[in-house]
C-alpha cells in the first residue's frame, strides 16, 4: 500500500532571527487574519462578534486578548488573532454589509524591536515613525522598499510588520541589511 503523503505547512519566515546591540528582528507565530471591508453597520456587527470595537480613526487600532483590529482605510481593517491559529474569524452568515476574507496564510510577519527599530524600518520606509507622530497602538499600511507592508506599533520600541508571504526573501534581506546598519 502506498504511504500517505503528508503536507507540512512551513512559514516562509521560519528560522529568521537577528539581534545586535540595538535591534532584534524575529518571526511572528502563525496567526489567523481577516481582511475586512465593511459599511459602518457591518463594521459594528463584525466588531461585536469579535469582541472588539473596530477603530474608526485613521491609523487607529484596537486590541484585546491577542486579537487586533487595525485601521487600514475608511472601510477597511486588518484583523489578526494571534491565539487561534486556523480558526476562521469569518462570519457564519452572509451579509451585504461586509466582506471578510480569510488571509491567514497570505501574510507573514516580523517583530522589529529595540532602540534601533525605528532606524531599521526607516532605512526603507519613508513614514515618520517617531513616537510623537506614530505612537504606540498606531497602525498603517505603507511601503518597505518596494514591498507593501502593514506596520503596527505594539510598544515604544516594538513594531509588528505584516507583508505578503511571497515578499519574504525581499523583506527579510532588506530588513537584515538595515538592522546591521542601525548598529553603526
Amino acid at each position: 500500500m502506498a504511504k500517505p503523503a503528508i503536507a507540512l505547512r512551513h512559514t516562509p519566515t521560519e528560522g529568521h532571527n537577528f539581534a545586535n546591540g540595538v535591534v532584534s528582528v524575529s518571526t511572528a507565530a502563525p496567526a489567523s487574519r481577516i481582511s475586512l471591508r465593511a459599511t459602518p453597520l457591518g463594521a459594528n456587527s463584525f466588531g461585536k462578534s469579535l469582541g472588539l470595537d473596530l477603530p474608526k480613526k485613521p491609523s487607529g487600532s484596537a486590541a484585546k486578548g491577542g486579537k487586533f483590529a487595525l485601521w487600514l482605510g475608511p472601510d477597511e481593517w486588518l484583523i489578526i488573532d494571534e491565539k487561534n491559529q486556523d480558526i476562521s474569524l469569518v462570519p457564519k452568515t452572509a451579509s451585504t454589509q461586509l466582506s471578510a476574507v480569510d488571509i491567514s496564510h497570505r501574510n507573514a510577519a516580523y517583530f522589529i524591536s529595540g532602540n534601533g527599530a525605528e532606524n531599521t524600518l526607516n532605512a526603507a520606509c519613508p513614514r515618520n515613525l517617531s513616537l510623537s507622530e506614530f505612537p504606540v497602538g498606531s497602525a498603517t499600511r505603507t511601503i518597505f522598499g518596494k514591498a507593501e507592508v502593514v506596520l503596527y506599533r505594539t510598544q515604544n520600541n516594538t513594531f509588528r510588520m505584516e507583508f505578503w508571504r511571497s515578499f519574504t526573501p525581499y523583506v527579510w534581506g532588506l530588513l537584515l541589511d538595515a538592522a546591521r546598519d542601525s548598529n553603526n
Binding site: 485613521p58 491609523s59 487600514l72 482605510g73 475608511p74 499600511r141 505603507t142 507593501e148
Partner: protein
C-alpha cells in the same frame, strides 16, 4: 521627498505611497453612445496639460487605498489643496487664494 496630505488619513504622507490617476472632474456623460465623435474624443482623450495649477485625481495606493482630488501646481509641484472624492471642484477664486 514630497509630502501629500491624504484627506482620508487626515495627515501628510510620503509621496511614495501615492499614485497619480489623471485629471480630475472629467464629466463622463451617461449617454456616451449618443455623443458625436468629436465630443467623445474631447471627453475621453483630450486632457489639459497646463503650466500652473492642475486638478488631479490621486490614489493613496499604499495607504488607505482611497482616491481623492488634489490642486497641484505643475511648476513648483506644490500641493495647494487635497479634498475627498465627490467634493466640488474648488472655485477659481479659491484657487487664486490658495496660490497666494
Amino acid at each position: 521627498m514630497l509630502l501629500i496630505n491624504c484627506p482620508y488619513c487626515e495627515d501628510d504622507r510620503p509621496e511614495l505611497e501615492f499614485a497619480n490617476a489623471g485629471e480630475a472632474h472629467i464629466h463622463r456623460p451617461k449617454d456616451m453612445a449618443d455623443m458625436s465623435d468629436e465630443a467623445f474624443e474631447a471627453m475621453f482623450f483630450i486632457r489639459d496639460n497646463p503650466k500652473g495649477v492642475i486638478l488631479e485625481r490621486w490614489r493613496h495606493a499604499h495607504g488607505c487605498g482611497r482616491f481623492f482630488n488634489a490642486v497641484r501646481h505643475t511648476v513648483s509641484d506644490k500641493f495647494l489643496k487635497t479634498y475627498m472624492a465627490g467634493e466640488p471642484r474648488p472655485s477659481d477664486d479659491e484657487i487664486t487664494e490658495l496660490m497666494k
